[in-house]
């Protein structure tokens, strides 16, 4: 995902001289090409994330569309108040890009596990929050953010994720992307756990429909979601994030709004699968830790 992201950003930067990339002394073997091609629009600000977000806001005030790139918690929680106040409140054109979603850096320990970021980022007004499910979604979302005026958060895995869609796709905030048609059970995933969910479904519920939901801000398409929640008996959400406030919570909120407004006549059975509000205190690969927390379909 990170390679797809930087490739797409380089393409956009060739045409758009307002694109700027800041890194917090991270991005080895990812950002070098951008740095070489656009030395005037690249800066390693050092290991100083609060300052990095402030600088990004300042560059944005002068017209740049600024991408800041770092690892999960460093790009988000470490500088959260700068993101909230300097970026979101001032509606600056700053795109926060975090690598290492969920347990992508599994063996590096809890410092490197990005497992609360979505809950926090999606609570910020004006923030467009995106967790691409594969490389094609990464490409489309990166492109979309180069055109988007205002703050955005892009949650990336690392390298080597599957190409689930197999072809370039269009993404629109609020739209759920059908990955596989099916009946009775609807599996909704957000982020890079998509391919894992598909393997799980192959084994356990091959008839289930699978949708990827990369955007977690604003409202989901009401018509589309109402139809889906009406058509299926059982809904399962799957995320590599704490259950508190994450993707499953987002779907519950959206469903509750539809139900209370009368758009849905019955409240759907929604089962949430995610990290049970715990830290991983052991080492492991991404798959190992997913298994450790039983991110499995029933």
């Amino acid at each position: 995902m990170r390679n797809t992201f930087i490739h797409e950003l380089e393409k956009a930067a060739e045409i758009d001289s307002k694109i700027f990339l800041l890194v917090g002394d991270l991005g080895f073997s990812v950002v070098e090409n951008f740095q070489t091609k656009f030395p005037d629009r690249f800066l390693n600000v050092g290991i100083a994330e609060q300052n990095m977000i402030g600088i990004a806001a300042g560059l944005s005030m002068e017209g740049f569309n600024v991408y800041v790139y770092s690892i999960g918690n460093f790009a988000t929680l470490r500088c959260l108040e700068q993101i909230r106040y300097d970026v979101c409140y001032h509606r600056q054109n700053v795109k926060v890009v975090a690598v290492g979603a969920g347990f992508a850096y599994g063996s590096l320990g809890a410092s490197h596990h990005a497992t609360e970021d979505l809950a926090i980022m999606r609570s910020l007004p004006h923030m467009l929050v995106a967790a691409p499910g594969d490389t094609r979604e990464t490409k489309a979302i990166t492109h979309l953010t180069t055109q988007h005026q205002g703050p955005a958060y892009i949650r990336l895995g690392r390298a080597g994720e599957a190409d689930v869609h197999g072809r370039d796709i269009q993404v629109t905030p609020g739209e759920l992307i059908q990955v596989r048609a099916g009946k009775k059970t609807l599996i909704l995933t957000s982020g890079g756990i998509l391919s894992w969910a598909m393997r799980e479904a192959d084994e356990k519920t091959p008839d289930a429909a699978i949708y990827s939901v990369p955007f977690l801000s604003g409202n989901l398409n009401k018509k589309q979601l109402t139809q889906l929640l009406t058509d299926f008996d059982q809904v399962i959400t799957m995320e590599e994030h704490q259950l508190n406030g994450g993707f499953g919570s987002f779907i519950l909120e959206q469903a509750a709004d539809l139900y209370s407004s009368g758009a849905l006549s019955r409240f759907p059975k929604i089962r949430r699968i995610g990290i049970p509000n715990e830290f991983a205190e052991i080492c492991g690969t991404q798959d190992y830790l997913r298994d450790h927390f039983a991110l499995r379909l029933p």
Binding site: L43, G46, A48, G54, A56, G58, S60, E62, G63
Partner: protein
Amino acid sequence: MGIRLETKEYSKKIKKNALELVFRKRASHIGGSLSVADILAVLFSRVAKLDPKTPKAPDRDRLFFSKGHCCSIFYACLFESGFISKEEFEGYADNGSRLTAHVSHKVPGVELSTGSLGHAFPVACGVALALLKRSSPARVFCILSDGELNEGSNWEALMFAAHHQLKNICVIVDCNRIQSLGFTHDILNLEPLEQKLAAFNFDIVRIPGHHHDVLTRELAKETNRPRLIVADTVKGKGISFMENDNIWHYKSPSESQFEQALSELDKEYS
């Protein structure tokens, strides 16, 4: 340009208006407003290139006011210089007003909303960097409080501005020696501040922060390095019962205190 007043007359007006504002609105932070008043008076009335008719002019000087809680004096400057009307100024903090009790970027003349300390200097660095990239003549002034230097983000920005030699940036530390709960030397000692800051490779000067001629000279000076002015000031400056007492971080003057403050100001400026 806006109304040009002599710095002395300007400072008297903004002090009176800020005092009246905090008196009428039962507002806080008059102490820190009076410590920074002369710095602002010199910037607004003499040094900074600001025009209320074009508050977003591309080559205007940028004025970042990091100690946003001292908004009464900053809004008084915006009123005095013609950025906002008298009516708007007097509606400060009323329901529906955009004049929030920490400066708001929704108000013309305010570059950045502040109120959470340690935010403006990093943003000012980003702006300074962008201005240098397009060879703008604009200067970037950033006013910090001394207590605010407790925040680590300021030290990140110090390293950055020095490393990249942002020569268009001028940081002013309003060194009134008092922070929220007491004296800075009791809470988290900053001294020797000048030596600490100088070690970052800034062009640094320490000056009396209420002396208009010195302020004018040092604020107007441009060199090939980022500038840092430590301005020694007095919290509550000019009002005998407010000076060096941190109760005026919180309290609003009573009617008799307000009258006394005005008469002391009149005497000082007569």
